[in-house]
Amino acid sequence: MFFTMMKGTFTKQWKKMLMIAVTVALGASIATAMLNVMLDVGDKINEELKTYGSNIVVQPQSEAVVSKLYDLDNDDITVDYINEEKTGELLTIFWHNNITDFAPEIATEVTLPDGETATLTGTWFNHHLEFYKKGMTYERDTGIINLRNWWDIVDGEWLDEQAVEGTLYAMVGKDLADAKGIKAGDELVLTANGVSETVTVKGIFDSGDDESATIYTTLPVAQKLTGKEGLIQKIEVSAITSPDDELSERAARNPNLLSGEERDLWYCTAYVSSICFQIQEAIPEASASAVRQIADSEGKILEKTELLMSLITFLSLLGATLGISNLVTSGVMERAQELALHKAVGATNVQITVLVLTETIITAIIGAAAGYFLGYAFAQIIGHTVFSSSIEMSGMVAFIVAVLIIAVTLLGSIPAIRMILRLRPSEVLHGGH
């Protein structure tokens, strides 16, 4: 009988029910889109910020300590070195899949043929790394082609390590190239520590900063010129990280102060501090630290974006609540005579309320299901428009949206329930006194 009565309502009030479903669908779609974007936006913003360079730098222990103590530029102090072979250890850490790119570096001052000096940095451009450890082989193509993807190549092309023979190549910064009249294809003699190397200029780059006055070459060339074969001064690392929170900040100060449970949670979350910690575990002679500017920007942007999306979600659900409230109340008003009749033949307030709420919740669930798929589409539109990539849909969002929609429906039904409780069959059925 209950379902017969409910079916009757859906048949009789289908327009009203459709309106409720549409209202819920709109609210659910916006909530779904916003919550999915909110959950995925951390990674998206990370990916965006990764295009602006590394967010972790790995340095020799002694240099890192001096650098931190005296806030010195790395170039101003006496340096220690890390064995280049250790770079492969980055592929062995727990969060190795979050490390998108890395490049070891060694820098020195070189003398140009005209007698003037310039900074030369040896690094990987798109190096194919093979690393063997405990019977496992780890492979990765990595280097500054990705880490410096904002460089504008104004002449020639990127130095493609895998396409050229040998290592005697370089890329020259635009400011230096303009000053010295250097062009792509030129040969350049570089001298340092009494050693000379002739390199071919593959391209001229404009970095938009001081690097435009420097030269980048392959790691072996720079190592030979510095006399430090097999050694590097630092590794720039770009990693996808989770935004910092209170736990990661405490861990960054001293992970030993965390409880066992906190430590496990921290270690198994891709905080920049836990990735740094794991890099240090893998390369004990090195110190890994976050490039704070990038890490802080991530946190702030994420915080503001999440706040905005929470607000939009709240407002859309508030709108849905008001819409449901109006529709269910007007539906009860239209059905006042029928509901009064139910009371007159012995229905309790609870029975009538359950009948009306069940009808409304079923309608809301249908609307929410439609809204979820609409929200999926909205999320993809936002993802492609703002981040140029799709948004991953989270199962948790479906659950949250379901709970929110039921809460919104119940909340929106309160005025109608109050009306049901106040409904007096004597007034509705007999018409006053």
Binding site: M1, M5, A344, G346, H433
Partner: protein, 218 residues
């Protein structure tokens, strides 16, 4: 004959209006009475109070020895569901349910819907063959008979009918009155509110209300 219902000094006051003014009345078990009077005389108010859809401002309503004005909301609902059958002038059938389903609604809130019993109730009012019709497919007289079947389905001790023939033609009025006669014969108590003298005349007693007071008893 023992009394089924007793109104003792019942008043219902809305602001300055005394819809019922110190009314006392006794209805015996199995009795059929008619309450008559002009519009605004308090007939519907009396019906609402007897059917527990409204409470008096003062006075007592004793049903089968219990003062129902002291009942809690829940107990009133139970009393109302178990003891009273209502027949309305406007029938108040649920328009998306068939005749038999309309009868089963009263069963649903009372105990369990039983289509066989509901069909039997419709048979008593001569509508078994129209059981699967919607109210919109029934004539006024047929709708009123469905309404009576719904009132009968839970075997109430008292049937309250508010202008049951008010919207019916003479032929249908006679059919409804015949059903009432049959119910009365079977021992069901009936209180019928009407302003139709022909309907009033069929009852055992006529109570006339004027300005909320009993003007005469016959």
């Amino acid at each position: 004959m023992s009394s089924l219902l007793e109104l003792k000094n019942v008043s219902k006051i809305y602001g300055d209006l005394h819809a019922l003014d110190n009314v006392s009345l006794t209805v015996d078990k199995g009795e059929w009475i008619a309450i008559m009077g002009p519009s605004g005389s308090g007939k519907s108010t009396m019906m609402n109070i007897i059917s527990c859809m409204d409470k008096p401002t003062s006075g007592q309503v004793i049903f089968d020895g219990d003062d129902i004005t002291k009942y809690s909301r829940r107990k009133l609902t139970e009393f109302h569901r178990d003891k009273i059958g209502l027949v309305f002038q406007q029938f108040h059938l649920i328009n998306y349910l068939t005749a038999v389903e309309n009868v089963m609604v009263a069963q649903y809130y009372h105990s369990m819907p039983d289509e066989k019993e509901a069909l039997e109730a419709l048979e008593r009012v001569g509508l078994k063959d129209r059981a699967k019709h919607l109210p919109s497919q029934l004539s006024g007289g047929e709708q009123q008979r469905v309404c009576i079947a719904r009132a009968l389905i839970n075997s109430p001790e008292l049937i309250l009918a508010d202008e049951p023939t008010g919207n019916l033609d003479e032929a249908n009025e006679n059919i409804v009155l015949d059903i009432f006669r049959q119910l009365h014969k079977e021992g069901t108590s009936l209180i019928v509110v009407t302003h139709d003298p022909e309907v009033g005349e069929v009852a055992q007693r006529i109570i006339r209300l004027e300005h909320g007071r009993i003007a005469s008893k016959k």
